[in-house]
Amino acid sequence: MYRRYHLRTDSAPDVATLPSPFRVRVSKPGLAGFLLKEFVQYRGNRTIMLNRPCMYGVFSGPVGGFAPREHLCVGCLRCTTQYPEFVRILPNPARSFLGDSYFTPDRVDAVCYEARSGKIPVKGAGYRGPFGGDGWDGLWTDMSEIVRPTRDGIHGREFISTVIDIGAKPSRLTFADGKPSCEQPQLFSIPIPVLFDAPPASLLAETVVKTFTAAAEATETLIVLPLESLAKLAVRGRHIVPLITRARLGALHALDFEPAMLELDEWDQQLFAQVQAQFPRSVICLRLELPSTDAILQAAGAGVRVFHLLANYHGRGSDGRFATDLFREAHKALVAQRCRDEVTILGGGGIIAAEHVPKAIICGCDGVSLDTPLLVALQAEFAGEAVSRNTGSFKLPSRFTVGWGVMRITNLIASWRDQLLEVMGAMGLREVRRMRGELGRAMFQTDLEKEAFSDIAGYVS
């Protein structure tokens, strides 16, 4: 029976206090002088005197402006506009320690909001950031205006599918005597185009792994975990994707469950055949660092049908190019080989905001894997720059339970899925599978600027 995918969200408040975005500085002598002046002007009428400019309660503590409650400040600047002589609102420098140069404080705020509420961030006023930029920021998704291909909608009225298929997708079946004469393709579906990548080795502790695996199960997706950690941490289930390295191959024999997918850490045809033989009903995925076009084509030619392509935590490949370019390159290479529809590409690295999911899919991924956003959802602190899986260092909050973590990650995924629906609804797309590689429904800043500005003096691409 058909079951509509739905994630139940619930409030999961922060356990670690995020630094307030603003600092409120009130000159005490200035405030005292002002109150004295108002006392005289309004003849001591407290109702008038104590009516404060802030509607968010910053000055509504027991001693008002003498001890402003700056955690409530939203930066509207009304107080400083009214009283420039003695009130100053300043950006809080403590926020610069949130995240790193890629996972900026604003991104951390957004993920934390999504993880604690499960809601879509909605704000007033227009866009406030740079015009465009590298990577994700240099790409806009399309929308459909008055001529729409479907009657898709959002807000629950009409259905948009976010299901993706992972595995081999042969372009045709062959039959003999009315029965399939080809091998049954190994294929399964997950209801969201998102899976969880393995946490950094330093965080492979029991609580973290149990949180990730339980969250993957709750959201009906997959979690990649190093093979050797599974037995040690006593986690099992079809949603767990063992990550196999040749060096730790021995642990494969101890695997006491049949996963939906296994992931090889490097391309080795013999290893591929060995694992496939041991787990004939599982999908075998090849994990490759980007760029890796040659390796993809070689492995695809040898029968690999699922690739997990990874940029670093900052979305860059080993050659410095951004994931958007690298995903497109891999996608187009497979298209050129006429086998794109037969394979699955899972992309990861640098996907830290909801909008990165549709953008990665448009660039050619079938689905994406998440890494640092899951840690940020759990309020992990970055210890310096977290660029790679091997060197990235994080510190999780001390007050941290599996239940809380599962709720946070579930909320995050629910929020991102809802935002994916917003983007797809705007595009008039009924299912996420149709979005894959739809570069015609994306607008790249470099292309648009060339078209709009190339005949303007001084233009350089």
Binding site: P53, V74, Y83, I146, A426, A452, G458, V460
Partner: protein, 438 residues
């Protein structure tokens, strides 16, 4: 304050209004420097403060505030106007015509506005009635227009109806036969730049009893307008819409507000063939009372990139001179206005710039709770008092005055006597790329 305050509430409002007005005066004068937490890449502290100053004085600032561009690192902010050498400038007393027609069809009524801009749709509920009134008063004074947005037509606006565009959006809130008949221009809002492909958002806190009454909805319940018009899935359907309003108000011009998809050129041509007089191209960096953050940055293209495409396509189709193209979505200054006209628009539509003139600090808290703490995007009776319509109208009028004088100065330096001659003149622009966003 127009009258001496009497009640405690009035005294309190008076106290805050006095202080706010003083703040709007002293901050741009830089007596206290620039507010450290003010501004962003698109609307820098300089732009906000200079807009406050223009709204007070009617002139651009001369104290070093950068009033022409922001620091977004792209679009308008990497384009300059290529002025002639000083000896080729027009004389200071040269007559410069800034007027544009809003109907180029050769049939239906002629409407000409003396400045190449009018006010954007902002709905009752997303902004206060006082702000709507201020905008209508300024529009009347300048013989231009403001627009209702999709939240209905407050009775107080009726006396300004000759300068009020009635918007029909997908929620159809407050759309009645008489509000269509009031209007010299009817605007169909198919999409909004800040949330392309999504309907309007009015969160529950702002859907007060009066707002709900106007919108014929339930108080305190969030209102998400549908998307798209579920009666329009083709140009032919769109034409039926236009025929429908022309039946109700045959004298009205029809404007079509669309966002900026990849096929914006085709959408514009479709609107033309459906009978629209004006097409408003609302770029993705436009303002909003509430929108998902994901929609603001990521869906559809900025207006700077859409307008050249539309202009070129209309020229190629041979219909450019029959359709008025108005740009919106991020027009902050007179320089943006001149640039977007040089990129191919006939004129532009102002939204956020008007709110900034009235005191907006771009804090992005329009959608929540009681709404704007400056009394702009609010439905809270107490906060609404902070903007008196007459004061607001004067501020907007001063901003228009400044834009007018600045546009004339720009045209003089470009050697043009007519704003219409600037349209599509990309040769008068200069690209200075590789500017990093701040």
């Amino acid at each position: 304050m127009s009258a001496k305050p009497e009640s405690i509430e009035q005294i309190i409002a008076h106290k805050h209004i006095e202080c706010l007005h003083r703040g709007f005066h002293v901050w741009p004068a830089l007596e206290y420097g620039k507010p450290p937490a003010m501004g962003d890449s698109r609307w820098t502290a300089d732009l906000i403060l200079s807009t406050w100053m223009q709204a007070e004085t009617g002139q651009p600032p001369s104290n070093g505030l950068e009033y022409r561009t922001g620091q977004s690192g792209g679009g308008f902010d990497v384009l300059d106007l290529k002025f002639l050498p000083r000896e080729h400038w027009l004389a200071d007393n040269a007559v410069i015509d800034l007027s544009i027609p809003l109907n180029r069809r050769g049939y239906d009524r002629e409407i000409r506005i003396p400045v190449p801009f009018y006010g954007a749709g902002m709905s009752y509920g997303s902004i206060s009635e006082n702000v709507m009134l201020a905008r209508a008063m300024a529009a009347r004074k300048w013989d231009t227009f403001t627009c209702t947005g999709e939240g209905g037509y407050p009775a107080s606006l009726v006396s300004y109806k000759d300068h009020v565009i009635t918007q029909i959006a997908t929620g159809m809130f407050g759309v009645r036969e008489e509000t269509i008949q009031y209007a010299p221009i009817i605007e169909f809002k198919y999409a909004q730049g800040a949330k392309p492909g999504l309907g309007g958002h009015l969160l529950g806190d702002k859907a007060t009893t009066t707002v709900a009454q106007m919108r014929e909805s339930v108080p305190w319940v969030s209102l998400f307008s549908p998307f798209p018009f579920h009666s329009v899935y083709s140009v032919e359907d769109h034409k039926k819409h236009i025929d429908w309003v022309k039946t109700i108000n045959p004298a009205a011009l029809v404007s079509v507000k669309v966002s900026t998809p990849t096929d914006i050129d085709m959408v514009t041509v479709g609107s033309y063939y459906a009978g629209a007089h004006i097409v408003q191209i609302d770029g993705s960096y436009g303002g909003t009372g509430a929108a998902p953050e994901i929609a603001k940055k990521n869906i559809a293209m900025p207006t700077e990139l859409a307008i050249p495409r539309v202009h070129r396509y209309l020229v190629a189709e041979g219909i450019r001179d029959e359709l008025v193209v108005m740009a919106s979505g991020g027009i902050r200054t007179a320089h943006d206005l001149a640039k977007v006209i040089a990129l191919g628009a006939d004129g532009a539509i102002l939204g956020t710039a008007e709110l900034v003139a009235l005191g907006c600090t771009r804090c992005s808290n329009c959608e929540r709770g009681r709404g704007c703490p400056f009394g702009l995007t609010t439905t809270d009776p107490e906060l609404q008092r902070l903007v008196e319509p007459e004061w607001g109208a004067t501020r907007l009028s001063n901003l228009y005055q400044s834009f007018q004088s600045e546009l004339r100065a720009i045209l003089r330096r470009l050697g043009l006597q007519n704003i219409r001659d600037l349209r599509g003149r990309k040769d008068l622009l200069l690209y200075r790329g590789n500017v990093k966003a701040s």
